[in-house]
Symmetry: C2
Subunit: 286 residues, 2 copies
């Protein structure tokens, strides 16, 4: 292992980045996180991610420093790493801190903030150009998915099932409607309209999701609707794509054993994908 880790305001060597066994993040999933992409050393939507981190924390009664401070810390930290001018992925984790094990947390604990930079590890270019397969599964998660918590056990089990089925992602359904993927949001395209499930408590309102809705689709003059998508609508629509920080804009051409549309990446999906690449300044292979 190599590299430097941000650990509560200090930069430490990777091999010294350990947490106590009574860190509540370890014993209770008592924490929240973010993943931020950096393109050529420049953060993409860092502000939005850090604001969401502060929000997620506050929803579980953890008080963080203001987002502006975290943003500065993240930028300074990245400069100290081997990713200073590269494409990178920044993982930020917050736990409530260390305390003798007891469900009810003490008041006034000092949260622990850890950041780790790593390679962006982009998906194979083939996935973006030709599309991927997804599977569908019942949504087994808790009812507060709008919090980006580290209680990710249902998500990782769903993702593993997807991988075992040779799929990129598992899309979850709750009460007959689709919610989102194990680590991505989902969109469909119908008659040139971009549709995605609304940001209820059952989904994480992804930053890339918001970028599509508020920026890319309007710039391309596509109408966007946030409305519930029944399972059968998903199976019978012509275009599907996923969004996420590392997923970026990922076309879907197969759902379980069913081919989506004509099995090729559709026009609107391709335009949104290209607009996203332009926006991030990402150049493949650099």
């Amino acid at each position: 292992m190599s590299g430097k880790i941000y650990y509560n305001g200090n930069i430490v060597d990777r091999e010294n980045a350990k947490v106590d066994i009574e860190d509540r993040g370890y014993q209770f999933a008592d924490g929240v996180y973010e993943v931020v992409a950096f393109y050529h050393g420049e953060p993409f939507t860092l502000n939005e991610h850090m604001e969401r981190l502060v929000f997620s924390a506050s929803e579980i009664d953890i008080e963080l420093p203001p987002a502006e401070i975290l943003i500065k810390e993240a930028k300074n930290y990245i400069k100290e790493t081997e990713y200073a001018d590269k494409n990178a992925k920044l993982y930020v984790q917050v736990s409530r801190g260390v305390a003798s094990r007891s469900h009810a947390y003490p008041d006034g604990m000092e949260p622990i903030i850890i950041m780790k930079a790593g390679p962006l590890d982009p998906n194979p270019e083939k996935y973006f150009q030709e599309g991927v397969k997804i599977i569908t599964l019942p949504d087994e998660r808790w009812s507060r998915c709008y919090i980006k918590s580290i209680a990710l056990l249902p998500n990782i089990l769903a993702k593993k099932k997807a991988k075992k089925a040779g799929a990129y992602e598992a899309i979850m359904t709750r009460d007959g409607f689709i919610t989102e993927g194990s680590s991505s949001n989902i969109f469909i395209v119908e008659d040139e309209t971009i549709i995605t499930p609304p940001a209820t408590n059952y989904i994480l309102n992804g930053i890339t999701r918001q970028t599509v809705i508020n920026r890319l689709a309007p710039e391309l003059n596509y109408e966007v609707k946030e409305e519930s998508i029944p399972y059968y609508t998903l199976l019978n629509t012509d275009q599907v794509f996923l969004t996420g920080t590392t997923t970026e804009i990922m076309p879907v051409v197969q759902i379980n054993d069913k081919v989506v549309g004509n099995g090729k990446v559709g026009k609107e999906t391709k335009e949104i994908f290209e607009a996203f690449r332009e926006l991030t300044g990402f150049v493949r292979g650099k």
Copy 2:
């Protein structure tokens, strides 16, 4: 901090008991746990707890050594600690292990098993003799609560709400029926019959719950029914008690602002409480 920690087969000093920041237990709540009571150095239902640990792990695709081995390890470990002949609480945590962060776990990972002994910290005797208050809350947890996973964020938030309300526990309701507490199971008594919600996927089938159903109630000649309990039945019943490893048999005399029955601990509850004390060999103050 003092004491000795069991860490994957080794006994280490407390201050050296750390886990890597990429332990999947820390980043994904990718693990399971147990809490076992020892009375005067003798484990209580240790076999049942370790068998459940192996079961929970297998449900999330983690392969553990057979329960018999874990039982031996636990007994040997306790002997090495200051709790060798005392009342104690043994915390056992399993995580899938350490890997570069990615939702889908690699196959064949080496799980990490940690055990920590601590004082049993019994509840105040007054709680057992006079009963406690509970509150009710919507059940926000995932749909696989039969797995004793470390993804406890909803549980700790519920427990904290209970404490803030001056209550011992929060009992959760799903679709109009009660499920369980944030760290305990619940029973009611109606016409000398002991009733508790069935062990569906929405509850953790507690070892103390099973002890009441399979051992204490039959010995006392009480009929036991495992059937769904509507919220309004809970509010209007005469006797309520909770069960759990550290909760033991805990009478409830108030639910939210409503007094249960006549506000005193009922006859059947008291008998079950006393039978449990006898069974564990627990002598207060020893």
